[in-house]
Each structure stands twice: as structure tokens, then as C-alpha cells.
């Protein structure tokens, strides 16, 4: 059982970080970013190139991934999303744009990096063993880094000026604007930050799970589920959703092991029932 809980916590840490970027963009812009998974994949490939092929230190690769995605996020916001949000009658229209961007990134990544699964050398070797518990050190390190990033993100949102501005914006965009928050600028910053988080976690996980050009879509959908459980647009919700899904998978796969085929069916149906009872997830903001 210790192993199951450890697995769940480890999965939860990485899921929470994946969900964080998605929920941030949703909170600030009301955009459901279908391209989140593709951004994750791109982050993974940047680390593959820099750490795996160019043999530079892992930290450098991670910074490169974060920077690449931040720039990409900013460009997407400035030249695509901002225009469409301004000109469309219904803000959901950004979904088509986001899906288009997702397909575009999918195609571009496939053309640039090829169709194969890629992996890099381990960042640390060895396995931590204690009683029945087996955890490779690199997983522990990755989970630790993920949690560190989450904490850093929360601290930034709580105590820095941009953080406070973005929180105000997430609560009430018009009010924030009246209070003098430059919402256009912080929309850009938020989008860049959300994309950066996706790239960061993609880059982090390439050391464990590798990366391939096709997994963007599935990752996005998984991220949607976490956000849905925790509640959309709330940082705490994303983190809770990530950990809950991680636990759910870990415990579900073990408990329902003998029923095998239906494990995910049960998890998904449970999720639907949960949402029917709590229509805004665990702690989400209601929809406009």
C-alpha cells in the first residue's frame, strides 16, 4: 500500500503542475487552451535537444524549455488570441482557435522532431528502497522539483505585484481594469506564464517518460480532467485536481486490478457523478 500512495503522490505532483498552467490561462482569459498538451510536448523536445543531444546541463535545458514556451505563449496571445477575443461575439469562439493552434503545433512538432519516441539519459541514478517501498531517485527529484515549482508559483501569485494583479484580474476583469491594472499586459504575461509552466513540466518529465510528438492531445485531455475535478480557474483547484487524479489512478489501478478492463470506466463515471453533485468542481469559480 505504501507503494500505491507513493505512486499517487508522485503522479499527483506532476499532474498538478500540468494543470496549473491550464487553469491560469483559463482564469485570466477564459480560454480553454486545447494546445496545452502540445506546449508540454514542445518543452519536452527542447530539453531533449539541449540536454539529450547537445549534452548541456539539465538546468540549462529546463531554462531553455521555459523560455521557448514563454515566448511562444506571448506570441500566441498577442497575435492570435487577443485579436479573436476582441472580435468575436461569444468568447467560447477561442476554442476553435485553440484547437487550430493545437493541430498546428502537432504538425510542426511532427515535422521538426519526427514521429519517434525520444528519451534522455537519467538525471540521477539509483533507487531509493525502504521496506516495501521502491522509488527511483530521479522520480523523487522530479516530484520534488515539481512541488518546488508549484510553491514558487503560489508565492509569486501571493506576494509579487504581477501576481496580485493577475489574481485581481482572475476575480473580476472589469474591476481590475478600473483599479488601474493593465489587463492587456497581464493577459500576455499570464498566457506566457501558463505556456511556460506547460513547457517546464514537459521538460521535467522527459527525463522519466521521454516524449513523442503525438501525446499532446491526450495530455491536454488529461489536464482538462484535473482542472474539472478541482474546479476551473482556481490555483488551489488545479493542484487539488492533479493530486486527486494521481491518487485515483494509483489506487484505482490497484484496487480494481482484478477487474482490469473497467478501471478507467469506473474512474470516469465516478468523476461524472462527482461533478453532477458539485457542478463547479471542488473549489471552482462558477461560469460567467
Amino acid at each position: 500500500m505504501e507503494q500505491v500512495i507513493a505512486n499517487g503522490l508522485y503522479l499527483g505532483a506532476q499532474y498538478a503542475l500540468i494543470a496549473l498552467g491550464l487553469t491560469l490561462i483559463f482564469a485570466l482569459m477564459n480560454v480553454l487552451n486545447f494546445a496545452h498538451g502540445q506546449m508540454y510536448v514542445l518543452g519536452g523536445f527542447v530539453v531533449y535537444e539541449v540536454y539529450g543531444l547537445m549534452k548541456l546541463p539539465f538546468v540549462v535545458a529546463l531554462i531553455a524549455a521555459a523560455a521557448t514556451l514563454a515566448v511562444l505563449g506571448a506570441v500566441l496571445e498577442r497575435f492570435l488570441f487577443r485579436t479573436v477575443i476582441r472580435r468575436s461575439e461569444r468568447e467560447e469562439s477561442t476554442m476553435l482557435l485553440a484547437a487550430g493552434v493545437a493541430y498546428f503545433l502537432d504538425a510542426a512538432i511532427l515535422l521538426i522532431f519526427g514521429e519517434k519516441q525520444r528519451g534522455v539519459r537519467k538525471i540521477v541514478n539509483g533507487v531509493f528502497m525502504w521496506d516495501n517501498l521502491i522509488l527511483p531517485w530521479d522520480r523523487i527529484l522530479v516530484a520534488g522539483l515539481a512541488i518546488a515549482f508549484i510553491v514558487a508559483f503560489i508565492l509569486m501569485m501571493q506576494y509579487t505585484k504581477p501576481g496580485r494583479a493577475m489574481r485581481a484580474m482572475a476575480q473580476d476583469r472589469t474591476a481590475a481594469q478600473l483599479m488601474g491594472v493593465p489587463v492587456a499586459f497581464y493577459g500576455l504575461v499570464g498566457f506566457a506564464l501558463g505556456a511556460m509552466l506547460a513547457g517546464l513540466v514537459g521538460g521535467l518529465l522527459v527525463t522519466i517518460t521521454g516524449v513523442n510528438s503525438g501525446i499532446g492531445g491526450p495530455i491536454s485531455i488529461k489536464a482538462f480532467m484535473m482542472v474539472m475535478i478541482g474546479g476551473a480557474g482556481v490555483v488551489g483547484g488545479a493542484i487539488a485536481g492533479g493530486f486527486i487524479l494521481g491518487m485515483l489512478e494509483s489506487v484505482g489501478l490497484t484496487v480494481l486490478h482484478s477487474y482490469g478492463d473497467v478501471t478507467y470506466l469506473v474512474i470516469f463515471i465516478a468523476m461524472m457523478i462527482f461533478l453532477a453533485i458539485r457542478p463547479n468542481g471542488l473549489m471552482g469559480k462558477p461560469w460567467g
Binding site: 492570435l80 485579436t83 493541430y103 482542472v227 474539472m228 476551473a232
Partner: protein, 327 residues
């Protein structure tokens, strides 16, 4: 409606019918491009399913779960035809009704959700449908149902109304006419629905559910009704597709399809009943047209999609009627 507008509408309908049932078949016969029959049948069937999604948009719900009902409809028809030996023609409406009924049960709890929560729960619903199809014995699990016979003849009092599809030299032609006829029927119904009192109530609900209920509208019931109609359309589309493919697998309709149905609505324009039809035509046919571009196909396709969104963020049909906001 003024007389000139009425005349205009009648002319538009006549042109549409002539194009679909006369001009296109003639053009195909002249050019020999019989492959277009299938492509256009697909467009028609996907448009039917997208029309359902559009209706849920119309009551203010972003539905990314239509793939589930297409799959359920497809399986319902396939099981009735293969296991119980029903005629395809009977199985088609039954499949649609089965979807409508099931969607009422599912819709009752989930339609309380709004915005992204509804979208995501329907997204999960698609996956639930796929996993259920994999797990159930009646759907034959992972092996799917194959070798489904093509639709037979319809005979009434010894008169053959529709000949069996196996008797046609080109099997795609009868499917094209079936799909196009169903699409015409479904969209005519949808158009009438939206322009009848029910449609106005739906529009009222989309804009404000509380206000609508304050004037005595049974909002939960109407939501379920709209969703059931939507799922009915999904089921019909799925069932005919299965008849064309003569096979169905749990992966015949997936999350990708659900997302595409939604995108068709966005691209055509949410404010227009015929939006999903045009959206499906452009998105589906566009992919086909680009097939010569080989490895760049997806890149170009998505690039065009992004450009269209930039230029016409309110859908293709907003080009003609700039921001009138009326269906």
C-alpha cells in the same frame, strides 16, 4: 416575414435542393469522381451530428460529447441488424430514439453543469462510451462488429420503394442520397424548431436560465429535450456511418470526433442554423482536398483554420450577415 424575404427563402431552399440532389450527382457523373459521393455522404452525416451539437450550443452548452452518441447510435443499429436480424431501416430510427432516451438519463444530472464544466464532462462521456463499448459483451468488445449487411430494400404492399443497396453498381450513390436526404430532413427540422416557440424558449434559456424559469419555463425539462434531440441527431449520423463502413469498433467515434463536431459549429457560426453544415463541409472536405500535400497536410489545414478564425471569428456565415445575432 415579409413576402420578398419569404420568396427569397423559398428560392434558397430550391437552389439548395437542386444542388444537392441534381447538380452534384450530375457533376459527379460528368467528371467520374465517384469518390466524392463518399466524401459528401460523410459531410452530410457529420453535419447531422454537428447540427445536434449546434442545438446544445443554442441552449448555451458547449457539447464535446457528440462522439459518444454517434457511437451509441452506431452500435445500436449494428447490434439490431446483426444480432437481432432487424432491417437497417427500422434500426435507424430506433438507434436515434435509443440515443435520445439514454441521453435523457445522462443529461438530467450533467445538464446542471455550465460552461467549461459541461464541456469537460461531455468530453469524458465520449471516453466513457468508448470504454463501455470495449467492456460490454453485446458490442463484442475490442473485436468490434464487422460484416454488417448493407441496407436492404424497403417494400410496402409488394411495391419496392427503395431498392436494396447491394443492387447498385456504385454503392456510394445510394448512401449519398440517403445521407443527403437525412441531412435535409434534419436541418429542416432544426430550422423549424429554432424558429418555432421552442426555439425562442431555447434562446431565452441560453441568455438567462433564471429569468426563463421565472416566467414559468421548465428549464431543466427543456434542457433535456434539447439534449435528447441533439443526441438523436448524433445517433442517426452514427448509425448511417456504420452502414457505410459495414463495421463498427469502439474507436469508430472518439474524442477527436467530438471535438470536430464542436469545431464544425464554431467554424460555420454559432448564430446560424446552417452553420454546422457549412462548417463540416469546409473542415472535412478541406482535409480531403489537401491530401496531395502529403506530410504538410496537417500543417496547412491547421494554418488555414487559424487564419479563418482570425478573419471571421464569428464563423463563416457571419461573412454575409455581419453581426446580426439572429439565427
Amino acid at each position: 416575414m415579409t413576402n420578398s424575404r419569404r420568396a427569397g427563402s423559398v428560392a434558397a431552399v430550391a437552389v439548395f435542393l437542386a444542388a444537392v440532389f441534381v447538380a452534384i450527382p450530375l457533376a459527379i457523373a460528368a467528371t467520374g469522381r465517384t469518390d466524392l459521393y463518399y466524401t459528401l455522404s460523410s459531410v452530410a452525416l457529420l453535419a447531422i451530428a454537428s447540427g445536434g451539437v449546434w442545438l446544445t450550443f443554442y441552449i448555451g452548452r458547449i457539447n464535446i460529447g457528440q462522439g459518444a452518441w454517434a457511437l451509441v447510435g452506431g452500435y445500436a443499429s449494428a447490434v439490431l441488424v446483426t444480432t437481432y436480424g432487424w432491417s437497417f431501416w427500422l434500426s435507424l430510427p430506433v438507434a436515434g430514439l435509443f440515443c435520445a432516451l439514454m441521453s435523457m438519463l445522462v443529461g438530467l444530472p450533467i445538464l446542471r453543469l455550465r460552461g467549461v464544466y459541461f464541456s469537460m464532462v461531455t468530453l469524458v462521456l465520449t471516453e466513457v462510451a468508448r470504454l463501455t463499448a470495449l467492456a460490454l459483451p453485446i458490442t463484442n468488445g475490442a473485436r468490434g462488429i464487422t460484416s454488417i449487411p448493407t441496407p436492404g430494400a424497403i417494400r410496402l404492399f409488394g411495391v419496392t420503394l427503395v431498392p436494396g443497396f447491394e443492387t447498385f453498381a456504385n454503392r456510394n450513390a445510394p448512401f449519398y442520397f440517403l445521407s443527403a436526404a437525412m441531412m435535409t430532413l434534419c436541418f429542416a427540422g432544426l430550422w423549424r424548431l429554432v424558429h418555432s416557440r421552442l426555439g425562442r424558449l431555447f434562446a431565452a434559456m441560453r441568455q438567462n436560465e433564471e429569468l426563463a424559469s421565472s416566467m414559468g419555463v421548465n428549464v431543466p425539462l427543456l434542457r433535456v429535450v434539447a439534449y435528447a434531440i441533439s443526441s438523436f441527431l448524433g445517433g442517426i449520423g452514427g448509425a448511417i456511418f456504420v452502414a457505410i463502413a459495414q463495421s463498427i469498433y469502439p474507436s469508430s467515434f472518439t474524442i477527436n470526433d467530438s471535438v470536430n463536431f464542436m469545431l464544425n459549429c464554431f467554424l460555420g457560426g454559432l448564430g446560424f442554423v446552417f452553420g454546422p453544415m457549412l462548417g463540416t463541409l469546409v473542415l472535412y472536405f478541406g482535409w480531403d482536398l489537401l491530401f496531395q500535400t502529403g506530410q504538410y497536410q496537417l500543417l496547412i489545414y491547421s494554418g488555414v483554420m487559424i487564419l479563418l478564425m482570425l478573419v471571421l471569428p464569428n464563423g463563416l456565415l457571419s461573412l454575409r450577415w455581419p453581426s446580426r445575432g439572429r439565427p
